[in-house]
Protein backbone atom coordinates (compact mmCIF):
# COMPACT_ATOMS: atom_id res chain seq x y z
CA UNK A 1 0.00 0.00 0.00
CA UNK A 2 1.52 3.32 -0.97
CA UNK A 3 1.67 6.09 1.53
CA UNK A 4 -0.01 9.32 0.52
CA UNK A 5 1.90 12.56 0.49
CA UNK A 6 2.41 14.90 3.42
CA UNK A 7 -0.33 17.02 4.83
CA UNK A 8 0.48 20.01 2.62
CA UNK A 9 -0.14 18.09 -0.61
CA UNK A 10 -3.36 16.78 0.67
CA UNK A 11 -4.72 20.19 1.41
CA UNK A 12 -3.79 21.45 -2.05
CA UNK A 13 -5.52 18.55 -3.72
CA UNK A 14 -8.78 18.97 -1.87
CA UNK A 15 -10.34 21.33 -4.36
CA UNK A 16 -13.90 21.23 -3.20
CA UNK A 17 -15.88 23.94 -4.99
CA UNK A 18 -17.28 25.41 -1.83
CA UNK A 19 -14.09 25.47 0.16
CA UNK A 20 -13.79 29.21 -0.14
CA UNK A 21 -17.47 29.59 0.48
CA UNK A 22 -17.22 27.57 3.64
CA UNK A 23 -14.63 29.94 5.06
CA UNK A 24 -17.13 32.69 4.51
CA UNK A 25 -19.92 30.88 6.32
CA UNK A 26 -17.61 30.11 9.21
CA UNK A 27 -17.22 33.73 10.08
CA UNK A 28 -20.97 34.13 10.29
CA UNK A 29 -21.75 31.29 12.64
CA UNK A 30 -19.62 28.54 14.12
CA UNK A 31 -20.37 25.00 13.01
CA UNK A 32 -21.22 24.03 16.53
CA UNK A 33 -24.39 26.13 16.43
CA UNK A 34 -25.53 24.51 13.20
CA UNK A 35 -24.95 20.86 13.88
CA UNK A 36 -27.55 18.14 13.98
CA UNK A 37 -26.82 14.83 15.65
CA UNK A 38 -28.40 11.98 13.74
CA UNK A 39 -28.84 8.65 15.50
CA UNK A 40 -30.11 5.71 13.48
CA UNK A 41 -31.81 3.25 15.80
CA UNK A 42 -33.45 -0.11 15.46
CA UNK A 43 -34.67 -1.91 18.55
CA UNK A 44 -32.40 0.13 20.79
CA UNK A 45 -34.91 1.18 23.45
CA UNK A 46 -32.49 0.07 26.16
CA UNK A 47 -29.71 2.49 25.24
CA UNK A 48 -31.03 5.20 22.95
CA UNK A 49 -32.58 7.27 25.75
CA UNK A 50 -29.29 7.65 27.55
CA UNK A 51 -27.41 8.57 24.35
CA UNK A 52 -30.01 11.19 23.43
CA UNK A 53 -30.03 12.71 26.91
CA UNK A 54 -26.25 13.05 26.93
CA UNK A 55 -26.23 14.56 23.43
CA UNK A 56 -28.97 17.03 24.34
CA UNK A 57 -27.06 17.92 27.49
CA UNK A 58 -24.14 18.94 25.27
CA UNK A 59 -26.47 21.45 23.62
CA UNK A 60 -27.08 19.77 20.29
CA UNK A 61 -30.39 19.17 18.55
CA UNK A 62 -30.83 15.44 18.08
CA UNK A 63 -32.79 13.55 15.44
CA UNK A 64 -33.33 9.84 16.01
CA UNK A 65 -34.28 7.92 12.90
CA UNK A 66 -36.26 4.90 13.98
CA UNK A 67 -35.78 2.12 11.44
CA UNK A 68 -39.20 0.60 12.10
CA UNK A 69 -38.33 -0.77 15.52
CA UNK A 70 -40.53 -3.36 17.15
CA UNK A 71 -39.84 -1.96 20.62
CA UNK A 72 -40.36 1.45 22.18
CA UNK A 73 -37.29 3.07 20.62
CA UNK A 74 -39.25 5.99 19.16
CA UNK A 75 -41.10 6.78 22.38
CA UNK A 76 -37.96 6.52 24.51
CA UNK A 77 -36.04 8.80 22.15
CA UNK A 78 -38.83 11.36 22.03
CA UNK A 79 -39.08 11.41 25.81
CA UNK A 80 -35.33 11.97 26.04
CA UNK A 81 -35.69 15.08 23.93
CA UNK A 82 -34.98 13.97 20.38
CA UNK A 83 -36.96 14.69 17.28
CA UNK A 84 -38.01 11.29 15.98
CA UNK A 85 -38.30 10.32 12.32
CA UNK A 86 -40.00 6.97 11.84
CA UNK A 87 -39.44 4.93 8.71
CA UNK A 88 -42.60 3.13 7.57
CA UNK A 89 -40.74 -0.16 7.04
CA UNK A 90 -37.36 -1.62 7.84
CA UNK A 91 -35.07 0.14 5.40
CA UNK A 92 -31.59 -0.52 6.78
CA UNK A 93 -29.06 1.49 8.73
CA UNK A 94 -27.76 3.54 5.84
CA UNK A 95 -31.25 4.47 4.66
CA UNK A 96 -31.95 5.63 8.21
CA UNK A 97 -28.82 7.78 8.30
CA UNK A 98 -29.70 9.23 4.92
CA UNK A 99 -33.13 10.14 6.23
CA UNK A 100 -31.43 12.14 8.95
CA UNK A 101 -29.17 13.81 6.41
CA UNK A 102 -32.07 14.80 4.18
CA UNK A 103 -33.81 16.15 7.24
CA UNK A 104 -30.71 18.16 8.15
CA UNK A 105 -30.50 19.59 4.63
CA UNK A 106 -34.17 20.52 4.67
CA UNK A 107 -33.68 22.29 7.99
CA UNK A 108 -30.55 24.08 6.80
CA UNK A 109 -27.99 22.56 9.17
CA UNK A 110 -24.34 22.88 8.21
CA UNK A 111 -22.97 19.76 9.85
CA UNK A 112 -24.31 16.33 10.61
CA UNK A 113 -22.86 14.08 13.28
CA UNK A 114 -23.82 10.42 13.25
CA UNK A 115 -23.78 8.43 16.46
CA UNK A 116 -24.64 4.82 17.15
CA UNK A 117 -27.70 4.32 19.31
CA UNK A 118 -26.12 1.59 21.39
CA UNK A 119 -24.07 3.91 23.58
CA UNK A 120 -20.67 2.95 22.17
CA UNK A 121 -19.86 6.55 21.35
CA UNK A 122 -19.59 9.35 23.85
CA UNK A 123 -21.71 12.32 22.80
CA UNK A 124 -19.35 14.44 24.91
CA UNK A 125 -16.71 13.99 22.18
CA UNK A 126 -18.90 15.67 19.55
CA UNK A 127 -18.03 19.24 20.55
CA UNK A 128 -14.31 18.78 19.98
CA UNK A 129 -14.84 16.98 16.68
CA UNK A 130 -17.21 19.60 15.31
CA UNK A 131 -14.90 22.44 16.37
CA UNK A 132 -12.49 21.15 13.76
CA UNK A 133 -14.95 22.12 11.04
CA UNK A 134 -14.32 25.81 11.73
CA UNK A 135 -10.58 25.69 11.22
CA UNK A 136 -8.83 26.76 8.04
CA UNK A 137 -8.67 23.93 5.53
CA UNK A 138 -11.29 22.15 7.50
CA UNK A 139 -11.95 18.56 6.50
CA UNK A 140 -15.30 17.58 5.02
CA UNK A 141 -15.54 14.45 7.09
CA UNK A 142 -14.13 13.63 10.49
CA UNK A 143 -14.20 9.97 11.44
CA UNK A 144 -14.01 9.29 15.13
CA UNK A 145 -12.07 6.09 15.16
CA UNK A 146 -11.19 3.55 17.74
CA UNK A 147 -9.02 0.94 16.02
CA UNK A 148 -8.29 -0.82 19.29
CA UNK A 149 -11.83 -2.08 19.66
CA UNK A 150 -11.47 -4.54 16.78
CA UNK A 151 -10.55 -8.14 17.38
CA UNK A 152 -8.10 -10.09 15.26
CA UNK A 153 -10.64 -11.31 12.73
CA UNK A 154 -12.22 -7.94 12.19
CA UNK A 155 -8.85 -6.28 11.79
CA UNK A 156 -8.02 -8.83 9.15
CA UNK A 157 -11.28 -8.08 7.27
CA UNK A 158 -10.50 -4.35 7.40
CA UNK A 159 -7.03 -4.93 6.00
CA UNK A 160 -8.47 -6.86 3.05
CA UNK A 161 -11.10 -4.18 2.44
CA UNK A 162 -8.53 -1.39 2.61
CA UNK A 163 -6.34 -3.24 0.14
CA UNK A 164 -9.25 -3.85 -2.23
CA UNK A 165 -10.76 -0.41 -2.07
CA UNK A 166 -7.61 1.68 -1.88
CA UNK A 167 -9.10 3.52 1.08
CA UNK A 168 -6.67 4.61 3.75
CA UNK A 169 -8.95 4.82 6.71
CA UNK A 170 -7.94 2.86 9.76
CA UNK A 171 -11.42 2.42 11.22
CA UNK A 172 -13.69 1.62 8.29
CA UNK A 173 -16.83 0.77 10.19
CA UNK A 174 -16.97 3.55 12.74
CA UNK A 175 -20.48 4.98 12.91
CA UNK A 176 -19.28 8.09 14.72
CA UNK A 177 -18.60 10.70 12.07
CA UNK A 178 -18.94 14.41 11.38
CA UNK A 179 -19.98 15.45 7.88
CA UNK A 180 -19.97 19.00 6.57
CA UNK A 181 -22.55 20.41 4.22
CA UNK A 182 -20.84 19.36 1.00
CA UNK A 183 -20.52 15.79 2.23
CA UNK A 184 -24.12 15.73 3.40
CA UNK A 185 -25.34 17.08 0.08
CA UNK A 186 -23.49 14.33 -1.73
CA UNK A 187 -24.60 11.55 0.59
CA UNK A 188 -28.22 12.64 0.77
CA UNK A 189 -28.61 12.46 -2.99
CA UNK A 190 -30.50 9.61 -4.60
CA UNK A 191 -27.25 8.31 -6.08
CA UNK A 192 -26.34 7.16 -2.60
CA UNK A 193 -29.71 5.74 -1.60
CA UNK A 194 -29.00 2.16 -2.60
CA UNK A 195 -25.86 1.86 -0.51
CA UNK A 196 -26.40 -0.61 2.30
CA UNK A 197 -23.68 0.09 4.81
CA UNK A 198 -22.10 3.34 5.80
CA UNK A 199 -18.51 2.16 5.52
CA UNK A 200 -16.71 1.27 2.28
CA UNK A 201 -19.35 2.41 -0.21
CA UNK A 202 -19.93 5.75 1.50
CA UNK A 203 -16.24 6.46 2.03
CA UNK A 204 -15.52 5.72 -1.61
CA UNK A 205 -18.24 8.14 -2.71
CA UNK A 206 -16.59 10.83 -0.59
CA UNK A 207 -13.14 9.99 -1.95
CA UNK A 208 -14.29 10.15 -5.54
CA UNK A 209 -15.70 13.59 -4.86
CA UNK A 210 -12.24 14.47 -3.49
CA UNK A 211 -13.63 15.48 -0.12
CA UNK A 212 -11.08 15.56 2.66
CA UNK A 213 -11.45 12.86 5.27
CA UNK A 214 -9.56 12.85 8.53
CA UNK A 215 -9.62 10.50 11.48
CA UNK A 216 -9.49 11.37 15.13
CA UNK A 217 -9.06 8.78 17.81
CA UNK A 218 -11.67 8.67 20.53
CA UNK A 219 -12.46 6.12 23.15
CA UNK A 220 -15.47 3.91 22.69
CA UNK A 221 -17.32 1.79 25.17
CA UNK A 222 -18.27 -1.82 24.61
CA UNK A 223 -21.97 -2.36 24.02
CA UNK A 224 -24.02 -2.99 27.09
CA UNK A 225 -27.05 -4.53 25.42
CA UNK A 226 -27.43 -6.48 22.21
CA UNK A 227 -24.64 -7.14 19.76
CA UNK A 228 -23.20 -5.89 16.50
CA UNK A 229 -25.65 -6.15 13.61
CA UNK A 230 -23.01 -6.77 10.99
CA UNK A 231 -21.22 -9.46 12.93
CA UNK A 232 -24.31 -11.28 14.13
CA UNK A 233 -24.45 -14.50 12.12
CA UNK A 234 -22.36 -16.21 9.48
CA UNK A 235 -24.66 -15.57 6.48
CA UNK A 236 -24.88 -11.91 7.46
CA UNK A 237 -21.11 -11.64 7.82
CA UNK A 238 -20.63 -13.36 4.49
CA UNK A 239 -23.06 -11.00 2.76
CA UNK A 240 -21.41 -7.99 4.35
CA UNK A 241 -17.93 -9.10 3.29
CA UNK A 242 -18.99 -10.03 -0.24
CA UNK A 243 -20.84 -6.72 -0.57
CA UNK A 244 -17.94 -4.67 0.75
CA UNK A 245 -15.33 -6.49 -1.32
CA UNK A 246 -17.34 -6.04 -4.47
CA UNK A 247 -18.11 -2.40 -3.90
CA UNK A 248 -14.51 -1.75 -2.83
CA UNK A 249 -12.98 -3.46 -5.83
CA UNK A 250 -15.42 -2.07 -8.38
CA UNK A 251 -15.19 1.53 -7.25
CA UNK A 252 -11.60 1.67 -6.06
CA UNK A 253 -10.57 4.97 -4.56
CA UNK A 254 -8.80 7.31 -7.00
CA UNK A 255 -5.00 7.52 -6.60
CA UNK A 256 -5.43 10.83 -4.82
CA UNK A 257 -5.79 9.56 -1.31
CA UNK A 258 -6.42 11.34 1.91
CA UNK A 259 -4.34 9.79 4.59
CA UNK A 260 -5.61 10.69 8.03
Amino acid sequence: MSVAGPLKNRVDSGTSPNRAERGHVTRLKPAIRQTLIVIPARDEAADVGDVVRRAVACGFPVAVVDDHSADATAAVAARAGAEVLRLPFHAGCWAAIQTGMRHALAKGYRCVVTLDADGQHNPEDVTALVAEMDQDNAPSVVIASCPDRANQRRRMAWRVLRWLSGLQVSDLTSGFRVYDRSAVELLASSHCTLLEYQDVGVLLKLCHRKLKIVEREVSMRPREHGHSRIFSSWPVVFYYLAYSCLIGASRRAPPLRHRP
Partner: protein, 120 residues
Protein backbone atom coordinates in the same frame (compact mmCIF):
# COMPACT_ATOMS: atom_id res chain seq x y z
CA UNK B 1 -50.49 -37.39 -32.63
CA UNK B 2 -50.59 -33.76 -33.66
CA UNK B 3 -47.99 -32.06 -35.82
CA UNK B 4 -45.35 -29.75 -34.37
CA UNK B 5 -46.77 -26.81 -36.30
CA UNK B 6 -50.16 -27.29 -34.72
CA UNK B 7 -48.62 -27.66 -31.26
CA UNK B 8 -46.69 -24.42 -31.69
CA UNK B 9 -49.80 -22.65 -32.94
CA UNK B 10 -51.83 -23.81 -29.97
CA UNK B 11 -49.05 -22.68 -27.63
CA UNK B 12 -48.81 -19.27 -29.29
CA UNK B 13 -52.57 -18.73 -29.36
CA UNK B 14 -52.88 -19.75 -25.72
CA UNK B 15 -50.18 -17.27 -24.82
CA UNK B 16 -51.77 -14.44 -26.81
CA UNK B 17 -55.15 -15.13 -25.20
CA UNK B 18 -53.60 -15.15 -21.73
CA UNK B 19 -51.80 -11.86 -22.35
CA UNK B 20 -54.89 -10.16 -23.76
CA UNK B 21 -56.84 -11.39 -20.75
CA UNK B 22 -54.20 -9.99 -18.40
CA UNK B 23 -54.29 -6.63 -20.20
CA UNK B 24 -58.08 -6.62 -20.02
CA UNK B 25 -57.94 -7.32 -16.30
CA UNK B 26 -55.46 -4.48 -15.87
CA UNK B 27 -52.86 -6.87 -14.52
CA UNK B 28 -50.24 -6.35 -17.22
CA UNK B 29 -49.19 -2.91 -18.45
CA UNK B 30 -49.25 -2.48 -22.23
CA UNK B 31 -45.50 -1.92 -22.40
CA UNK B 32 -44.75 -5.33 -20.93
CA UNK B 33 -47.41 -7.04 -23.00
CA UNK B 34 -45.72 -5.91 -26.24
CA UNK B 35 -42.69 -7.98 -25.26
CA UNK B 36 -44.74 -11.07 -24.49
CA UNK B 37 -46.82 -10.74 -27.66
CA UNK B 38 -43.58 -10.60 -29.66
CA UNK B 39 -42.44 -13.77 -27.92
CA UNK B 40 -45.65 -15.60 -28.77
CA UNK B 41 -45.38 -14.51 -32.41
CA UNK B 42 -41.86 -15.94 -32.50
CA UNK B 43 -43.07 -19.23 -31.02
CA UNK B 44 -45.76 -19.42 -33.69
CA UNK B 45 -43.30 -18.54 -36.47
CA UNK B 46 -40.74 -21.15 -35.48
CA UNK B 47 -43.49 -23.77 -35.07
CA UNK B 48 -45.15 -23.13 -38.42
CA UNK B 49 -41.89 -22.81 -40.35
CA UNK B 50 -39.42 -25.31 -38.88
CA UNK B 51 -37.11 -24.59 -41.80
CA UNK B 52 -36.52 -21.13 -40.36
CA UNK B 53 -34.41 -22.29 -37.47
CA UNK B 54 -32.59 -24.84 -39.66
CA UNK B 55 -31.53 -22.10 -42.05
CA UNK B 56 -30.45 -19.81 -39.24
CA UNK B 57 -28.39 -22.58 -37.67
CA UNK B 58 -26.62 -23.22 -40.95
CA UNK B 59 -25.98 -19.50 -41.26
CA UNK B 60 -24.16 -19.26 -37.92
CA UNK B 61 -22.53 -22.70 -38.21
CA UNK B 62 -24.48 -24.58 -35.55
CA UNK B 63 -24.79 -28.23 -36.61
CA UNK B 64 -27.73 -29.07 -34.32
CA UNK B 65 -30.49 -26.46 -34.96
CA UNK B 66 -32.49 -27.03 -31.73
CA UNK B 67 -29.35 -26.10 -29.79
CA UNK B 68 -29.44 -22.70 -31.45
CA UNK B 69 -33.10 -22.33 -30.58
CA UNK B 70 -32.45 -23.09 -26.90
CA UNK B 71 -29.37 -20.89 -26.76
CA UNK B 72 -31.21 -17.91 -28.20
CA UNK B 73 -34.21 -18.54 -25.95
CA UNK B 74 -32.08 -18.76 -22.80
CA UNK B 75 -30.02 -15.70 -23.71
CA UNK B 76 -33.19 -13.71 -24.37
CA UNK B 77 -34.56 -14.71 -20.99
CA UNK B 78 -31.31 -13.82 -19.24
CA UNK B 79 -31.34 -10.35 -20.80
CA UNK B 80 -34.99 -9.97 -19.85
CA UNK B 81 -34.30 -10.93 -16.23
CA UNK B 82 -31.36 -8.56 -16.07
CA UNK B 83 -33.52 -5.70 -17.31
CA UNK B 84 -36.15 -6.61 -14.72
CA UNK B 85 -33.47 -6.58 -12.00
CA UNK B 86 -32.41 -3.09 -13.02
CA UNK B 87 -36.01 -2.00 -12.85
CA UNK B 88 -36.48 -3.57 -9.43
CA UNK B 89 -33.45 -1.74 -8.07
CA UNK B 90 -34.60 1.58 -9.48
CA UNK B 91 -37.98 0.97 -7.90
CA UNK B 92 -36.30 0.15 -4.61
CA UNK B 93 -34.42 3.44 -4.80
CA UNK B 94 -37.67 5.32 -5.31
CA UNK B 95 -39.38 3.38 -2.56
CA UNK B 96 -36.63 4.22 -0.08
CA UNK B 97 -36.66 7.90 -1.06
CA UNK B 98 -40.41 7.94 -0.53
CA UNK B 99 -40.15 6.18 2.82
CA UNK B 100 -37.56 8.73 3.95
CA UNK B 101 -39.79 11.54 2.78
CA UNK B 102 -42.77 10.20 4.71
CA UNK B 103 -40.61 9.97 7.82
CA UNK B 104 -39.52 13.58 7.36
CA UNK B 105 -43.03 14.82 6.67
CA UNK B 106 -44.45 12.94 9.63
CA UNK B 107 -41.89 14.52 11.94
CA UNK B 108 -42.62 17.94 10.47
CA UNK B 109 -46.35 17.40 10.86
CA UNK B 110 -46.18 16.37 14.50
CA UNK B 111 -44.00 19.38 15.23
CA UNK B 112 -46.50 21.69 13.57
CA UNK B 113 -49.32 20.06 15.52
CA UNK B 114 -47.47 20.62 18.76
CA UNK B 115 -46.91 24.25 17.85
CA UNK B 116 -50.58 24.78 17.03
CA UNK B 117 -51.66 23.14 20.28
CA UNK B 118 -49.30 25.35 22.25
CA UNK B 119 -50.80 28.44 20.66
CA UNK B 120 -54.36 27.28 21.22
Amino acid sequence: MISMALFAQILAVAMVVMILWLIRRDRLPIGHSLWWLAVSILIAAFGIFPGLIDNMARLVGVSYPPALLFTVAILTLVVKVLIEDLEVSSNRRRLLRLAQKTAMLEAELSQLKKKVEEQA
